[in-house]
């Protein structure tokens, strides 16, 4: 088969994975090698669906012994099958990398023959790339559940980031839709990778020459909207994954109707839950950077996000006793809870107010977006000029602000650089 055909099939088979970031690691190139990495990551392009393209995201093969219902590559699905040779993948990566098309390789695979055999092929590819091609760019590899721990370990010594997909937000759903995969077989490598990263960090502290194991950390992703879990369940699981497995990122992927299985939503007329995915990402930001807990944002009585306003606004509206916040005296943590005030804005406020009391005009100059924030702030005791809204009117105003986004077919995806306000 021609390389072009292989590339088409194996990209098509890999595209539903949400993760495409190249972040978490700064590494300069060395003489005689090719490639470097940037801690902030780098988007090389954006596809027509608005998603960042950072890595060459392909499967090693789409030949699979498993039959996960939600997956295009499931054994029972009638699609063309193929596999890259390790050499082909290296050539593609280097050819793309030299032209600055990509930041590196995201190598995933269906399970071909056995988890061990698949992992061995992935290792062979990455070894060639790192050793023979002296490639120093970013590599994200997907660990295959069920592979021997020793193989997963070797994979992690070659890759910068490892991930194991949790796939679905609950054990019941996983059991139903992916009978070949058990939750334990997903969590076992996740724990192994966590421990491998910690051990490697410890060794590096003693000797700079110690081998690095997944230095850019571990991530995972789950499909949203294929199964009946609530946002609360999903967010609590996410929080647990961050805490227990020290993950760098949890990605959400709105289910795309790829199957007629009775166990899944019927594909006819199915709309992928993009807005829901967007709200989950916003909430995920609140967990990671804004010191929120899942149980503050949702509870058993309100298990799903209000689609009309973002999670931070929702929280603010439910906690009128917290507001208004005084710009000139509030702590950093308090400022972060104000809708429309992000990490950057909060820092700027702290540093600017040392030079005199801030006014609303001053805030604008600092780059603080007041559209939302004005309802929740005072400057030296004063509210924004011309602002006359009763409390019950605020929700209407906030909803109106989101309308342009809601009316579009698909909401914008959060990029790496964007902050939820």
């Amino acid at each position: 088969m021609e390389l072009m055909d292989k590339l088409t099939i194996l990209t098509d088979a890999a595209k539903y994975d949400a993760a495409c970031t190249s972040s978490g690691l700064d590494r300069a190139g060395r003489p005689g090698t090719m490639g470097s990495t940037m801690a902030a990551g780098c988007c090389h392009s954006f596809s027509a669906d608005g998603r960042c393209i950072s890595l060459l995201k392909v499967l090693l093969t789409n030949r699979c012994i498993y039959d996960c219902q939600y997956c295009v590559n499931r054994r029972s699905n009638d699609v063309r099958r193929t596999a890259f040779t390790p050499r082909e993948l290296c050539e593609l990566t280097i050819g793309f990398y030299r032209r600055n098309y990509i930041e590196g390789l995201f190598l995933s695979s269906a399970v071909w023959g056995s988890p061990d055999k698949t992992t061995e092929l992935m290792i062979e590819t990455l070894r060639l790339l790192r050793e023979e091609y002296a490639f120093g760019g970013y590599i994200h590899a997907k660990a295959i559940p069920g592979a021997a721990p020793l193989l997963t370990h070797r994979l992690g010594l070659l890759a910068d980031r490892l991930s194991v997909n949790i796939e679905l937000p609950s054990e019941q759903s996983l059991g139903l839709l992916a009978p070949d995969k058990a939750k334990t077989s997903i969590l076992t490598p996740m724990a192994q990778i966590r421990d491998g990263i910690a051990a490697s960090k410890g060794e590096l502290a003693l000797s700079r020459k110690a081998p690095k194991f997944a230095p850019a950390g571990q991530s995972t992703q789950m499909i949203v909207g294929a199964t009946p879990e609530t946002d609360f369940q999903i967010l609590r699981l996410t929080e647990g994954l961050y805490k227990k497995y020290q993950l760098k990122r949890v990605f959400f992927s709105a289910y795309m109707p790829v199957s007629n299985s009775k166990l899944l939503p019927a594909p006819q007329g199915f709309k992928p839950p993009l807005l829901r995915e967007h709200r989950l990402y916003q909430a995920d930001w609140l967990l990671r950077f804004y010191h929120f807990e899942a149980s503050e944002l949702l509870d058993e009585a309100h298990p799903n996000f209000n689609p009309l306003v973002d999670p931070k606004c929702s929280w603010a509206l439910a906690h009128p006793e917290f507001f208004p916040v005084e710009v000139n005296t509030a702590d950093y943590e308090v400022l972060l809870r104000v809708p429309g005030v992000g990490v950057t804005s909060a820092r700027r406020i702290l540093s600017a107010r040392r030079w005199g009391a801030l006014t609303f005009a001053g805030l604008k100059k600092l780059g603080v977006v007041l559209k939302r924030a004005q309802y929740f702030l005072t400057c030296s005791g004063k509210t924004a000029e011309g602002l006359r809204v009763k409390e019950d009117g605020i929700l209407r105003h906030l909803v109106a602000l989101e309308r342009p986004m809601l009316s579009r077919e698909a909401p914008e995806q959060l990029s790496l650089f964007e902050e939820t306000g």
Binding site: L3, M4, L7, T8, T11, D12, A14, K15, Y16, G29, R30, P31, G32, T33, M34, G35, S36, M38, C42, C43, H44, S45, F46, S47, A48, D49, G50, R51, C52, I53, S54, K57, L92, G95, F96, R98, R99, N100, Y101, E103, A254, M256, P257, P272, R348, S351, A352, R354, W355, G356, L358, G362, K365, L366, G367, R408, E409, A410, Q413, S415
Partner: protein, 267 residues
């Protein structure tokens, strides 16, 4: 700007050679002769000024003295704001920098935090625009292989080459490459162990050979295949990747338009 002179120094209009050292020499002159810059003009940006003209010849030693005083008097961050500021597309670039320096020399490093002052704010915003554009271009630049040398062309609003240099030299330590800035007509050349940024009036990449065309075709195929149809969202793509960058990007060219056109401003 320029109306808030409280020192009583006479106001003059400087003509200089357009280089950073030239600008720093103007600053030096201004302080030595106790006169205030009220306008600047460099070759190619003729200006009629109400103020008496003062041609300034670049003096490397004087420039060096000003440059070395910057980190001390304004903090390293302040010094960076000035060097970067000179690369921005700010309409009154030299004047804005001069006004910022005058303020900074008076008030010291603390001035950097005072974003509510127009002089600081304007410069800070322009520098953010510059670093933002450089960051985007680290991703959006496309190279072609021309007999082993990597060649790229860009059309940035700001002079980003000095900011791209460290990144690409670290990325391709063993390659030879050229990045040509069509807007400002200058080029960054690199080969292992050596680099230079030089003015270059005319530059035109040769057409792609067979192997280069194959690589481009593979990339375009990947680019189109990786997009999920059910999530089609051209608006979001445009927000993250403004149209003005597309002209130099492989994924938006077809076989026939492959030879990039000469400077063309889509906006």
């Amino acid at each position: 700007m320029g109306n808030y002179d409280m020192t009583g120094w006479p106001q003059v209009a400087y003509t200089y050679d357009g280089t950073f050292d030239g600008f720093l020499t103007c600053v030096y002159e201004s302080y030595v002769h106790r006169e205030r810059a009220a306008a600047f003009s460099a070759p190619g940006q003729a200006q009629i000024s109400l103020y008496p003209g003062r041609p300034v010849e670049t003096h490397p030693e004087h420039a060096r003295r000003v440059r070395q005083s910057l980190p001390r008097r304004l903090s390293p961050r302040g010094a960076r704001l000035v060097t970067y500021g000179f690369l921005t597309a700010l309409p009154d670039r030299e004047q804005s920098l001069y006004d910022f320096l005058a303020l900074g020399f008076r008030r010291g490093p603390s001035v950097l935090h005072d974003l509510t002052d127009q002089r600081v704010f304007v410069l800070d915003r322009a520098v953010k625009h510059l670093t933002g554009e450089a960051h985007l271009l680290k991703g959006f630049i496309r190279f072609s292989d021309q007999s082993g040398v990597l060649v790229a062309e860009i059309e940035p609003k700001n002079r980003v080459l000095p900011l791209l240099r460290t990144h690409f030299c670290a990325r391709y330590p063993s390659e030879a490459f050229v990045i040509y800035d069509r807007t400002h007509r200058e080029a960054l050349f690199y080969r292992p162990g050596e680099w230079a940024i030089v003015p270059l009036e005319n530059f035109r990449a040769a057409g792609p050979d067979k192997s280069e065309r194959d690589w481009r075709a593979l990339w375009r195929r990947f680019y189109h295949t990786v997009s999920i149809e059910g999530r089609y969202n051209p608006r979001c793509r445009m927000t993250h990747m403004p149209k003005r960058y597309w002209g130099c990007m492989t994924e938006f060219q077809t076989e026939d338009t492959e030879r990039p056109a000469l400077p063309q401003r889509p906006e």
